[in-house]
């Protein structure tokens, strides 16, 4: 019989499997002039027709241009469209920029724009964006460089929908194998997409807006927050935006020689409530919760100042922001009075018994858990006991969607048009088919929101949404917590990045490097 040696066998197995892998895959060196960006999660679909997660949208915007684009002040600017005309309240014509070519050299035409929108509207293609374009009746080319959009009814947020990346006519629809062959007109072209590892983009030398200053970008997926920061310290990563533990910032500044930019953001953190709950249906209780929470303390201690207390969903940089709304600074005494008024007396005064208990659901992320503990402590001071339940994201979100909660906390990212209020607070959107998860009902708000999406004038809409914001701050279907600030970390020697309030990375096309790449 052959003599069997277990260790030799294992070494043989390892050599057979590990070595070819090690030798064949090359070390992810950075070619000269490339900037390395660290990302927390893997972008799933860079194709703009399917991109829904923040990283896919942000990287997609570097590969694809859209008809319009929002600038750093949240205003709509021409992108592939040089200009547009409103023919009537249902018809728009976009005039395309001339001389634009796709990464494969093919010139951009109106047929490409029509194809992009039509392929999303075709139910066969299962685009997650189809529902958001349901107001479109038709999209037709009018000659080679004009496109006509016909709407089923007047719809003010329409122009916001034109920030969708344009793909060439005939592009394949969603298919894993099409990932490597995405073609756009953007400042960067896709070089390599290794899901879960990295995405390499190379500068588009023929970009109609001028070639980017860097030779290319590498997006490295590093799920662990600590490792992301250590890679930055080691100079394997040059750029990080958000997803940085606030506690690490001082260390990064001192030990990693990081340049830190902190800028106003639009991400809105709130507490959602079930308005059909026997206790939470009382407005006084919701108000008492708002007064019982010390936002300033949470921002100062937990978030290290990286947020500002919010008064509503729209941040002060939004064109429709209304500042004259009730504000809820920390006032435990007032909270107690309100609870007394609502008939929820403290059974033992300053004793340990609560007035009532509420369940609070959150995800198992470290910062969210600590935030829950802080809220629990603060609300216990006014006699409200929070039972904190933490869940894995999928389970948590399914519960929220089903309305299975008393209180929960989430954030809204990338709010652009105030029509978002329609989705969240119109009584027509109470689940199962909508996002009015707290079951908020107010006929006056319904009417205003319908008016808001039909009115085409900015001034007219500003008046409508100002009223909506005042009513919501009074009715409190959400308790506003804060608007998160954007934190951008760059290695010294990187210039030209402008942080966008919604975290857009488009400004990477203007970035220049004045350092030599480190050793691999």
């Amino acid at each position: 019989m052959l003599k069997f040696r277990p260790r030799s066998f294992l070494i043989f197995c390892w050599l057979g499997i590990a070595l070819p892998g090690c030798l064949s895959s090359s070390q992810p060196d950075r070619p000269p002039g490339y900037l390395v960006v660290g990302l927390e999660s893997n972008p799933t679909h860079l194709d703009p027709r399917y991109a829904t997660d923040a990283n896919s949208i942000r990287i997609g915007a570097l590969l694809f241009n859209s008809l319009t684009r929002t600038d750093q002040n949240g205003n709509l600017q021409p992108d592939l469209a040089e200009r547009w005309e409103t023919i009537d309240d249902r018809t728009y014509i976009f005039h395309l920029r001339k001389g634009v070519t796709f990464h494969n050299g093919k010139p951009l035409t109106a047929a490409d724009v029509a194809y992009t929108y039509r392929s999303i509207l075709d139910p066969k293609n299962r685009s997650p964006k189809r529902a958001t374009l349901q107001f479109l009746e038709s999209v037709d080319p009018v000659g080679p460089d004009r496109v006509r959009f016909r709407l089923a009814e007047p719809y003010a947020p329409f122009l916001e929908s034109t920030n969708l990346g344009i793909v060439p006519d005939g592009s394949r629809t969603n298919d894993g194998s099409s990932r490597q062959s995405l073609i756009g007109t953007g400042p960067f072209a896709l070089e390599e997409f290794l899901p879960g590892e990295r995405i390499m983009l190379k500068a588009n030398a023929n970009y109609w807006g001028g070639s980017p200053a860097v030779s290319g970008l590498i997006f490295k997926i590093i799920p662990d927050a600590m490792v992301r920061v250590l890679e930055f310290k080691k100079r394997n990563v040059d750029f990080l935006q958000n997803d940085i533990e606030p506690d690490m910032l001082p260390w990064l500044r001192d030990k990693a020689q990081a340049s830190i930019q902190i800028a106003q953001g639009t991400t809105f953190q709130y507490i959602g409530m079930n308005l059909e709950h026997p206790i939470l249906k009382h407005r006084e209780v919701r108000e008492a919760l708002a007064y019982g929470i010390d936002r300033e303390a949470i921002i100062r201690h937990l978030l290290k100042g990286l947020a500002i207390p919010a008064t509503g969903m729209l941040s002060p940089i939004h064109w429709a922001y209304e500042s004259s709304v009730p504000k809820f600074s920390h006032d435990p005494e007032r909270a107690k009075r309100l609870l007394d008024q609502a008939g929820f007396h403290d059974p033992d005064g300053e004793g340990p018994l609560p007035r009532f208990k509420l369940s609070y659901k959150t995800t198992n992320l470290d910062l969210r858990r600590r935030m829950a503990e802080a809220l629990k402590q603060q609300l216990s001071e006014v006699g409200i006991e929070l039972e904190v339940h933490t869940f894995e994201w999928g389970t948590f979100y399914a519960d929220i969607k089903r309305g299975n909660f008393d209180l929960y906390s989430l954030s809204w990212v990338g709010i652009t048009d105030p029509d978002i209020y329609f989705a969240l607070f119109h009584s027509r959107n109470i689940p199962p088919n909508g996002d009015n998860r707290g079951h908020y009902r107010n006929p006056e708000v319904d009417q205003l929101l319908e008016q808001g999406r039909r009115s085409l004038g900015v001034d007219e809409r500003r008046v409508i949404y100002s009223e909506v914001q005042k009513i919501l701050a009074r009715d409190l279907p959400y308790i506003p917590l804060w608007w998160a600030k954007n934190v951008v970390l760059t290695r010294q020697g990187i210039r030209g990045f402008i942080p966008y309030p919604d975290g857009d990375l488009i400004s990477l096309k203007n970035v220049s490097l004045s350092f030599s790449n480190p050793e691999a």
């Binding site: 019989m1 499997i17 590990a18 892998g21 958001t132 590892e197 989705a423």
Partner: protein, 307 residues
Amino acid sequence: MNRYLARRLLLFLPTLFGTLTLVFFLIHLVPGDPVEVMLGETASGTDKETLRHELGLDLPLWTQYTRFLSGLALGDLGRSLYEQDSVSRLVRARFPATLELTLTAMLLALLIAFPLGIIAALKRHSWTDRLSLLFSLLGLSMPNFWLGPLLIIVFSIELGWLPVSGRGTLAHLILPSATLGMAMAAILIRMIRSALLDVLHEDYIQTARAKGLSEQKVWLKHALRNSLLSVVTIIGLQFGTLLAGSIITETIFTWPGLGRLTIQAIQTRDYPLVQGCILVIATSYLLVNLMTDIVYRLVDPRITYGK
């Protein structure tokens, strides 16, 4: 032996089938809707229903299960709901990385455990014995999510010897496999030490010594070989722990393996992908256990497996 192997192979299939059945029903019972992940929150109820129907998610769970099994029988693992790609292709792309990591971790654990375990037994109660036991205690007490960053800080940041994360060269493999293999090495050191000390009192060791064999030969040829039996058992069982631990290690070291893919599939309720990942993980575990039994026979030819 051949009959035994045939019987084990026959048992292999029901075990795998049981695992997949359990996972199938568990993942479907957990709250969460893949259709919502695919179509987005704003999709209309009709669109969601249409897609649910197209994907067969509106069918009774039992029918979905039989469909899954018939697909499996034909070698079709289906398409990932979220990634929109074939499950076989996704799993095939990630599995080599996990296998590479777990096998290297195992090899590293063996390379650490055998010398330390043998020395500990040879020099019982000496400072080397105490040192190896301390190493073993530390290895068992340190969780991967703590040990990983610690190793990075020491070997990548402070000393600058090894890369922080990623996969590519042999250097990239050292820290993740050390992190993953540490607990296994710790267990094996103690196992090897105590197994060796046990056999030292056996008669055949005394006989070997009486024959005038050198102490080295007594230890390596007689004692070690006979103590291997229990160690082999532990190696087989620990492989499952390595596969499970690879999920955390892969996340820390940005290792593009099956563990991270499994987590993502569970989070997005990507049912076919979860099943595909579990199929590969369970098969590997069962195969390693089967191999352990074969190695048993080879280590100790006296072992027979019934007729």
